[in-house]
Symmetry: C2
Subunit: 478 residues, 2 copies
């Protein structure tokens, strides 16, 4: 990431604040690993030019960083990043700054807010929407079961009975995954993370949608990947932009949600799905299809994994959004020859994925109550979506697209309002968590958008707070 | 990893098998990332010399790999690793080969074996030794609790009440960790893995003990670290070797178990602990102290984290070995200023660590039954240790060190028997899982050792099978 030029020097000597700004810039680039140990720093001349400061400012900054041991001077050759341990930092800037530079801002705020808080920006359902009685019953069932699931490790690939059941469910969606092609993980997030480890080398280029789930961007930063993005339309990625991006950047991997895309709620149209796969074949692109919202669909959209037959598409699912966020189990379905290596990698980095959670999930899915629960949930979500749409539109907040189902509405704000400013105001004044558009946008082109979770937006107090914050921000912007 | 030279060419043209051997060598080095995308391959001359084959063999192998797209030829410059996606492989060789080249062999075999199998090589207690009734009771308690822990996400840093309780426990061991300095993770393994992500860059040098827990080696390979090791004595790392290693390799990080060291059962002596910390300060070394066996101790050994006050030592714990391997919660205690970044990294790569598991653990630890359980467990382990020692010695298998407590015995085999050969024989003929020494040894200097878990070695059938396998292997070796 390049830092914007600093305002031009107005003094003749190196002003302390300018020197510190240059030092801060270098420090951040070392922390977020855009400058690695042993790497040569830009020359004093080019650094001065790119930051718009005098050379003496850079000389002073490099000198102080050398004294701190963060960088080393090699006479005749330049300055190099030292070998001192510098822990990795996800955030490129300081905590508390706008979410566009802090990739886990929305997640952190949503997790910190309690159940009573207003959080239309939150990415999951209210706890009360989950199948409480079913979970209590499953716990009592497990408390009477034989010992092993309560105290022992599971098998490396994960509970065979659960994989059998998942295989059947995937088959119903047209995804041909034998139980041997399925591996259980601790969560959907851990599944995508493990796949990134498996598939990526530092410096690899990875493609995401714009907008996309912000955690993909944060995770890819932790994998030291170069991330590129293509605009997402209401029917899938923009194909000309996709082709252009594949040609230009040659990404190895594309991470996407094909159905009920996060944050837009859009779903892939069959013809676009087909063309995405043709392009993937042409440019030898591997795809991770993260399908954690699958069970919210009224009518199933096409799945890349089904069309492709799990050749170059790897499928990821979980039940965190529909059953319990607390009992964590995810799954990966992929080519049989990759499962063994993925299992090894899971054993080495996580040991085992919760045996107890897998048993609990198997009990819940096997009982038939899950189908009833999901039917009820879909109807309840459809109602919530109608109510949220009406109330948002009354405030001049309009949907970019009307999703068929799911919980997310991707909305445009009125009057060129900046969503990040609004989110900060709402959090400070009303303890209300919003999800500003640029948290989802690699290109930072969604400043006027926000994601609204209909299920978390039923409290009329939300719209009162929203209106007040919008007015305050509009006044401030004017 | 360098491959040993192949036997010298005896034919004039490039023999097919030799060409394939060179191709296999390159392929493995690309898979295990010792050759990265875009990196230049050794020249044809130097490759031919190092593998002891003719240049025409290498020319043929490079040509075929180029045709496969795995490498690229750049005229006038040489051959380069291509940009084709090559998934990461932990094992340097094919599955099924000796454990010294397969870092998760022991884990995989132990997890695949059922409770009825003989598995003295296993790294955990039998399920029946775990506090069954306490867990059943805790599950029933939780099934009657308010909703949130059953269905919702927890807080980013992890259940405050559990962190409070852990803080108190750590305080009793002299480790000054406020609840704000503690973060919950999915497991002890995930805690170490997350810390590696936080602290390491690819290519960093990391120090481990020799022998050490094999998962550290596997995990560090997944982090693309260069691993070096120092011999472990019955009282801690060999200090002159440690100093020499620090001077020569300048590792950034040292991962160790200070008390009840895995696999040796050794514990750090106070004077050695003090000197390790002096050396760490001198060479600016960060230390991860993995203390998952802590509660097995009769008399507590010194903790590096206590002496150091959590400055350069990061403490990791879990209850997988004492309460339940199935309900997974680990914890990290570290400097307050690192917690925020670690929380962000956890959110980005694992989202949240199981809220339900944390509640269950809190219920179990808070009830007082854990103390009773551990008192019983320690006495039972001491008995098992006495029995195992006697029976092993009757077979000529002797302890390298008599541990004060815990479950592990690090043993020498008689007659120069090779433990990997023995482990394979025992698995094939008796479905018995052994843990051969070199699985734990980076320097591969423990071929005559094996780790025995006393708690898993009470069945007399183990010693019958062991004797038969030892005799068969001795005959084969003779």
């Amino acid at each position: 990431m390049l830092t914007a030029p600093l305002p031009a020097d107005t003094t003749t000597g190196p002003a302390t604040t300018r020197v510190e700004a240059v030092m801060r810039d270098i420090r951040q680039r070392i922390e977020n690993r855009s400058l690695c140990a042993g790497k040569r720093l830009p020359s004093i001349r080019s650094q001065a030019e790119s930051l718009g400061v005098s050379r003496s400012t850079v000389v002073e900054a490099y000198g102080r960083l050398t004294a701190e041991g963060l960088i080393e001077s090699r006479p005749g050759s330049g300055f190099y990043v030292g070998h001192q341990l510098t822990p990795f930092s996800l955030a490129e800037t300081q905590p508390g700054l706008p979410p566009d530079s802090d990739p886990v801002w929305v997640t952190r705020q949503s997790l910190l807010a309690d159940e009573a808080s207003l959080k239309p920006g939150c990415g999951w359902l209210p706890a009360a929407w989950m199948p409480e009685q079913d979970i209590r019953r499953a716990l009592r069932t497990l408390s009477r079961r034989p010992l092993a699931p309560l105290t022992g490790y599971g098998t490396p690939q994960g509970l065979p009975e659960l994989r059998q059941l998942l295989s059947h469910r995937l088959g119903e969606r047209g995804i041909p995954a034998a139980p041997a092609q399925i591996m259980l993980t601790e969560s959907g997030t851990q599944a995508v993370d493990l796949l990134c480890r498996f598939l990526l080398q530092p410096g690899d280029t990875v493609l995401v949608d714009d907008p996309c789930y912000f955690s993909f961007q944060a995770m890819l930063r932790a994998h030291r990947a170069d991330v590129v993005s293509v605009p997402y339309t209401p029917h899938g990625p923009d194909l000309p932009a996709l082709q252009n991006c594949l040609l230009r950047h040659r990404p190895r991997l594309y991470i996407t949600n094909a159905a009920l895309h996060n944050p837009t709620g859009a779903s892939l149209r069959p013809d676009i799905a087909h063309k995405v796969l043709l392009l993937a074949a042409q440019y030898d692109l591997t795809i991770i299809e993260d399908d954690v919202f699958a069970d919210f669909e009224h009518r199933p959209a096409p799945r890349l994994a089904a069309l492709d037959g799990l050749q170059r598409v790897i499928y990821v699912g979980s039940f965190s959004k529909t059953l319990s966020a607390s009992v964590r189990v995810g799954h990966i379905a992929t080519r049989p020859d990759w499962i063994r290596q993925l299992v090894d990698l899971k054993l080495a980095t996580a040991f085992e994925s919760g045996h107890f959670s897998a048993e609990l999930l198997h009990t819940l899915l096997g009982s038939g109550s899950y189908l009833r629960h999901m039917n009820g949930l879909r109807a309840r979500l459809a109602d919530a979506m109608g109510i949220a749409l009406e109330r948002l539109q009354a405030l001049g907040i309009h949907p970019w697209h009307r999703p068929d189902s799911g919980m997310f509405l991707w909305c445009t704000l009125p009057h060129g309002l900046d969503a990040a400013t609004l989110a900060h105001h709402a959090l400070e004044r009303h303890r209300m968590v919003l999800a500003p558009g640029n948290a989802f946008s690699l290109s930072q082109s969604a400043a006027g958008f926000m994601r609204v979770n209909a299920a978390q937006s039923l409290d009329p107090a939300i719209y009162v707070a929203l209106e007040q914050s919008m007015e305050a921000c509009a006044r401030r912007q004017a």
